[in-house]
Symmetry: C2
Subunit: 322 residues, 2 copies
């Protein structure tokens, strides 16, 4: 049984690929594997890259991977495709550019479909990152499309969050409304060769200056001043500075003890999420589809009520004190 | 014990106000009250009003209430204030305009703070609506500020969702990105006296025409064509048409059997949410703060792992089959 785990720990790519598939399929045994992998993980710098569709995330990630390879890092990438409610699909064309990198044995790229529940995606992403981490990849980049609640939740796994904006897309306003401003550690304005890039940089800098935390911070404490960087894929400019900023941010997290305190918060919410997931599974096992339909009908007919039905189910699946 | 419930069912406003407070404070006994109220609820038309800050939601709600009073309805309003992560506050100035209506014994307005968890707000809102419903208010309007995940979740309680946009705010694009397009039943362009109102109407109509469901619907089935209506608070125009559209949409929901099918889906997710809430409470009762800190430290030190800790907690709170 430990064979796949042992092979993964030596850096075996096929074992890692198999593990990721087991995680995505929620194979029961995978929790035992992950328990073992957890003991060997915790070394990687986990970097999230997010931004609106068309902001140039994939292009930026491709260039970051190249630069990180130049610096002799072994790089992992988890790319999350959204399942649009309109299309039902989960394929993005611009993954192709990344394919050229996937021939490199020191680059491991995995694309994940964002099917299932909100919490489900965040949980699988965390597990996949853990497996890559245990296999020796560092840093690991998580790329998410869009800026919704699912992305914000996935981004909690990241230690450093890069938010990408393209000039003239109004992404700055988006960033505030979607709560992205609060989670960004580094801003990147892509397509800096296009007109309006400097204005987008200025607008982002202005927004950041409004952040009260920024104004009220204790000057004696380590403080991270969120940089706004420009990149141009065409001119191959600015990438090295983004990687520098990533490394500086990691250093800041370690020195300010925030790496440890963030990890502790995440561990706690992970344990709670695992317990709740088990409850959802127990409910599924306990209540048949026929029973659900009967119960729901009784409630909508006002013959029963949701509160006493919930209490009965709590007793049946054995939740204490209910 | 049943005194407050009985008084509420006769329409006693003080009993209703007290019940809402009990719901907000998550007083344990309130579930028994709500179980009883559930049997007497289910008559009200529940209408959600949402849109970006500054779109004119409160003004629209005030005018809707006036028009509904003219039509001799007893109207309930649940206004949800966001707890901004920047300000920490939950007070909005423009509630004042609604105050003038609150002297009317046939109008019940309650403002709720959106503190606590995502699911917590949706649950309290549903319970407050249930209490107003049992007290005889119909329709009940839920007003939420902004268009994030919390709002989308709250809006699931509503049977008819009105999305408000102001001219020239780029709300149309916002609507798609925030997933509002999918939940809107009626669009209202407020401030129709301002320049750009007709353009905003045209843009929304164009966006709606792109919805594949709209193009592919079965012509023999009842179908709701999402209207885009203009209102002007200054000129007191368009309000009556919005109330007409609300009533037509309710009629459509009944005739297409969607009122029943939506209610069934909601009941199921409500029961599941109640069970999960009980589990979170059981965890809190079982695991002390000191133990959490110890466990989290063990996990971050890689001496234990989240998966086996979760399994142990599942056993301790008694979740079956784990």
């Amino acid at each position: 049984m430990q064979n796949i785990v042992e092979r993964l720990l030596t850096g075996d790519r096929r074992a890692l690929a198999r593990m990721v598939t087991l995680i995505e399929n929620e194979t029961p045994i995978v929790r035992d594997y992950l328990a073992e992998l957890h003991r060997h993980a915790g070394h990687a710098h986990i970097v999230g890259v997010t931004g609106a569709p068309g902001a140039g995330k994939s292009t930026l990630v491709t260039h970051l991977v190249r630069e990180l390879r130049r610096r002799e890092h072994k790089v992992g990438v988890v790319a999350i495709d959204p399942t649009s409610p309109f299309t039902g699909g989960a394929i993005l064309g611009d993954r192709i550019r990344m394919m050229e990198l996937s021939g490199d044995p020191n680059v491991f790229i995995r694309s994940m479909a964002s099917r299932g529940s909100l919490g489900g995606l965040a949980a699988s992403t965390r597990d996949v990152v853990r497996a890559m981490d245990a296999a020796g990849y560092d840093p690991i980049i998580i790329e998410t499309v869009g800026t919704g609640q699912a992305e914000v939740e996935v981004m909690r796994t990241a230690q450093t969050v890069i938010v990408v904006s393209a000039p003239g897309m109004g992404d700055e306003v988006q960033a505030i409304k979607a709560g992205i401003l609060e989670i960004a550690d580094i801003f990147v304005v892509s397509k800096a060769d296009k007109p309006g890039a400097d204005q987008t940089v200025a607008e982002l800098a202005m927004l950041l200056s409004l952040d009260p935390q920024r104004r009220l911070h204790d000057k004696s404490q380590p403080y991270w001043r969120i940089p706004v960087l420009k990149t141009s894929a065409i001119k191959d400019q600015g990438i090295s500075q983004v990687v520098d900023a990533m490394e500086q941010h990691y250093k800041y997290l370690v020195e300010s003890d925030m790496l440890a305190s963030r990890a502790q918060r995440q561990v706690r919410s992970e344990v709670q999420a695992l317990v709740l997931h088990a409850v959802v599974k127990a409910l599924k096992a306990e209540v048949s589809e026929e029973e659900w339909q009967r119960v729901v009908e009784d409630i909508t007919k006002r013959e029963r009520d949701p509160y006493s039905v919930a209490r009965e189910l709590e007793e049946r699946i054995g939740v204490k004190g209910s």
